[in-house]
């Protein structure tokens, strides 16, 4: 058939793509993950004994925590103590984000190759960011509580430190990928190092940096609600109280309020981020 169609011979090659060969990687990783899953789910000394049947049987039973959802005590939202602690949570999140982000921008600039000709400064900045991020912010809060005593200060310090690390990392990664044209142009026009940063690097990353600051604020808002559990200020203290005294109706009120606030902040910051980028 093809011979009579008069097409050139090259058109007769098989046009269907060949199926990619199954290498060693896929099967190896799959086997590893399956083994890991079996070990961790299995009900033995090194597993979690997770079973969906158990979950459904427990949920089917009467339970004071679940029943309390129906009788959530919204009066709690206007109680002066809860309100004060809620405002403290917001203040912690704002301050931690603003102070941490302010330090993070210069730190990000010196942790990239074009930003910092000084190799030692670059490595130091990266190392600080990596080490701080290796521990969760709540662990930092525990350490600061142990160091300076309980209250809002250790919470603020933990958020401050963690924000620096996260925003530095994200901004530095963005800086690594920017257009080097303006940098060269600035150098060619005889700009000093600081002028080059100001004219060629900062304007390119500012929108991304601003959006990371918004992300950091969301992260900090979530963390600042639980800082109080380890004694580092904010609404978490009240949550921990209600939990200890099993006042679930009050706990749910705070949780609902908190979810509403985070939801609103999340929507607002998504909107702002769209405007930025």
């Amino acid at each position: 058939m093809r011979a009579t169609s008069g097409e050139p011979a090259t058109a007769t090659v098989n046009v269907r793509p060949t199926r990619p060969r199954l290498g060693w990687f896929g099967p190896a990783v799959t086997a590893g993950l399956v083994a890991f899953t079996v070990v961790t789910i299995w009900d033995w000394n090194y597993g979690t004994g997770f079973s969906i049947r158990e979950i459904f049987s427990v949920i089917g039973q009467k339970n004071p925590v679940i029943e309390a959802i129906g009788e959530t005590d919204f009066g709690q939202l206007v109680s002066p103590r809860s309100r004060k602690k809620f405002v403290e949570t917001l203040r912690l999140a704002v301050l931690g984000t603003v102070s941490g982000s302010a330090v993070a921008l210069p730190l990000a600039l010196i942790s990239t190759r074009i930003g910092a000709p000084n190799r030692a400064a670059r490595i130091a900045a990266r190392t600080i960011s990596n080490v701080v991020r290796a521990l969760p912010d709540i662990v930092w809060a525990m350490l600061f509580v142990a160091a300076v005593g309980s209250g809002a200060l250790p919470g603020l310090l933990a958020l401050f430190l963690f924000t620096i690390a996260v925003v530095t990392k994200l901004t530095a990664d963005t800086l690594d990928g920017i257009d080097t044209g303006p940098v060269e142009a600035a150098k060619a026009s005889g700009a000093r190092h600081a002028q080059m940063l100001r004219a060629a690097q900062v304007p390119q990353i500012l929108p991304a940096y601003a959006s990371y600051v918004l992300y950091a604020f969301e992260l900090n808002l979530r963390s600042s609600a639980v800082l109080g559990i380890v004694g580092a200020g904010g609404i978490g203290e009240r949550l921990e109280n209600f939990r200890q005294f099993q006042q679930w109706d009050r706990l749910w009120a705070i949780v609902v309020m908190f979810i509403v606030v985070v939801f609103v902040v999340d929507r607002l910051s998504t909107l702002l981020r769209r405007k930025l980028g």
Partner: protein
């Protein structure tokens, strides 16, 4: 009248920037003035933190190594099973939340549910789950699972929305059914990215599961919390050892998981270096 061309571009109007700055400064002032932080302790804070670090290092003993490693393993197991629970729910949900596969109103509705789920911190979930499930790993697993569904499903849906429409049209042109179109046109394109999101979320969830111990959910966080807040006097050496184990374990897991993720994204012949997109990393963390 000839229009003269300006030699330099007109400066963009920056009123928005100024408004943003004023708002941020106002918020910061409101926070500083109202925060009862007993600021007097601030100047000595770095020295105090150094003292804590020194106490942890000087009192370090290796007697509790086994306890710590086992507790860390528990945390990792809780994080992994929790991530799996999240993935099992989130990946199918993502297909119903993708605007190119379902009607817009449905995608929008599901996105809003996901946004609400994203708003709940895992620690609060575990506080509610412990009285229900007792001090079992199940409480932690469910907290991490439910806490990760929102973010995972949202990112996966965005990845599905980003697939090339060509294969979908091709599948439609051959008369493929809805399921066949998913199987042959959508899933092959989006699966690498979805798999890498799940792995990345696992890396984040290890950090989450290490702190769940602060409310008594077991794992390495419980060891740190017991050593620093419950024990009298504080067991600095144990806390130090536990923190060293946490750092080592997270670094090792990040390394392995990161290598697998990059290989998945780059493919068998991939020569391009895959860099973690900062915006996606940030999205995954929240």
């Amino acid at each position: 009248m000839t229009t003269t061309t300006r030699a330099w571009p007109r400066r963009e109007r920056q009123s928005w920037t100024w408004i943003a700055c004023v708002v941020v400064v106002a918020l910061a002032c409101w926070s500083v003035l109202g925060l009862d932080a007993r600021w007097g302790r601030l100047p000595s804070a770095p020295a105090d933190l150094y003292t804590v670090g020194r106490l942890m290092v000087t009192n370090l003993t290796w007697n509790d190594l086994e306890t710590c490693v086992e507790a860390m393993w528990d945390s990792i197991a809780i994080a992994w099973v929790g991530t799996l629970v999240a993935a099992v729910v989130a990946v199918p949900l993502a297909f119903v939340a993708a605007e190119n596969l379902v009607p817009r109103w449905l995608a929008f509705g599901i996105r809003q549910i996901l946004n609400v789920l994203r708003a709940i911190p895992e620690i609060i979930l575990v506080m509610a789950f412990i009285p229900i499930f007792g001090l079992t790993p199940t409480a932690g697993i469910l907290a991490i699972g439910i806490g990760s569904i929102g973010t995972l499903a949202k990112l996966c849906a965005e990845s599905i929305e980003g697939v090339d429409a060509g294969p979908i049209e091709a599948a439609d042109a051959t008369g493929a059914t809805r399921v066949q179109r998913l199987r042959w046109a959508v899933i092959p394109q989006s699966m690498p990215e979805i798999a890498s999101f799940v792995l990345y979320r696992f890396e984040i969830n290890i950090r989450v599961s290490t702190i769940l111990g602060a409310v008594g959910a077991g794992g390495i966080g419980q060891v740190v919390d017991d050593a620093l807040t419950t024990a009298v006097p504080r067991d600095w050496g144990l806390a130090g050892l536990a923190l060293i184990i946490v750092v080592l374990a997270t670094v090792v897991v990040d390394f392995i998981s990161g290598a697998v993720r990059r290989r998945i994204l780059a493919g068998p012949t991939g020569v391009t270096r895959v860099i973690d997109e900062p915006a996606i990393v940030a999205e995954l963390m929240t």
